[in-house]
């Protein structure tokens, strides 16, 4: 992760787009890995049955795969959202201190401006936001859905 971050400043330095691409780059593999068990949980016989009944691949996706996986995918997306708002390294390097995302702002307040109360408040806010998202994920993957579809709480990741 660290490695490709260094390569990125060349074309898209110091702007929001560049930071966005960098964070997507850092999170994409984690997202895909978190989707693998969700897709594996789909019973293969259902796909065969769908094809046997004459459905095209698009119809199979829309009527079979999507209804079975969307809660898990949603949970993964929320998890990536939580990771993205807490991302520090990628925005710090690619943004050059000029793209003021919450983590960058926190660092600036605490280490450079030495305004600890504001920094602490922002950090608490970020924690609150993250926990809110985690609660949403827990709701999306809990109880009935989890039992029916075998979807587990997606693995946490901190790679940015």
């Amino acid at each position: 992760m660290r490695l490709n971050i260094i390569s990125e400043p060349l074309p898209l330095l110091d702007n929001y787009t560049g930071v966005g691409i960098g964070v997507v780059h850092a999170l994409l593999p984690i997202y895909v890995i978190s989707l693998v068990p969700i897709c594996q949980a789909v019973n293969r016989n259902l796909l065969d049955a769908s094809a046997g009944l004459g459905a095209t691949r698009w119809q199979t996706f829309w009527h079979v795969i999507f209804p079975l996986t969307w809660t898990g995918v949603l949970a993964s997306m929320l998890l990536m959202f939580a990771n993205a708002i807490g991302a520090f390294t990628t925005p710090a390097l690619l943004g050059g201190g000029r793209v003021l995302l919450l983590p960058i702002l926190i660092r600036e307040r605490v280490l450079l401006v030495l305004n600890w109360p504001v920094g602490a408040t922002l950090a608490a806010l970020l924690t609150l936001l993250t926990f809110l998202i985690v609660a949403l994920i827990a709701a999306a993957t809990s109880g009935k859905w989890r039992k029916e579809r075998g979807i587990a709480f997606p693995k946490g990741a901190r790679a940015t």
Partner: protein, 297 residues
Amino acid sequence: MNVIPAEHGQTIAPLARLSARHTTWLDRIDDIWQGLYTFGVVAGCVFLFAPFVVVFVISISAAPSVEFPPPSFTLTQYTRIPPDITAAFWRSLRLGLLIVSIDLALCVPAAFALARGRLPGRSLVEAFFRGPVQVPGIVMAVAFYLSYSALLRSTGINLRNEFAGLVIAHVVMTFPYMLATVVVRLYTMGPQLEEASYGLGAGFFRTMWRVTIPQMRPALIAGSFLAFVISFEDVPVALFLAPGASTSTLPVQMFQFAVDSLSPALFAAAILVLLFSMALVVAIELLVGLKRVLSDG
């Protein structure tokens, strides 16, 4: 189901689709879908690998500053890696191994208490220990930074810019991952084999060493790997707690070089670190299988 034409609903569809006569617009959508799929896979691979290619190309550049594409190529950049980075690498390695040992010493008893013991409010305790996983790294960094500052002011003990402070913070960060992996393993393996061992007359330590630990080994290796990687690649916490050149870890040192003085030698160092990480991943794959590491925790 308005999209299925009658012929598909009534005949054996896969056979019908084999003959060109029966090609419908739905099959054409399938072709487009297939094309998009292939394109997406290729584009995704390029997106993921292009930055590494750029890093590698610059690492063999002969230019004194970072240029892309470089004018000519040489391997001398690999001999110009700043000594600060080499020192930071060994420091990171030492830190990672220390974190793993402390985590193991703490986690195994804790996991036993959680999985086998009769703790009141066990799920609450478990949720509490899982907490740090979800806290963003930067928040963790601020929390430790302010705590250490308060500690310094009230007791005079300095943990800022100290190896010990970094060790404490990283143990807190990595502990939940290790714990989760080990607890899951303890739940799934069950106490039967240990009970059998006791029943056959083995003592506690003998059972632990010959029965329990061998059974737990994959989880211990997987947890150690996670803990090591998290400690080894952490930037925000190490940046707050140990920014000085004599205490900083490898990622922090590279971060600071990238911000202050970008040079092709840094890219050479990056390639070496990449090789190290890949060797680590291959070793884990051979030892326990990467899938297990990624699914258990």
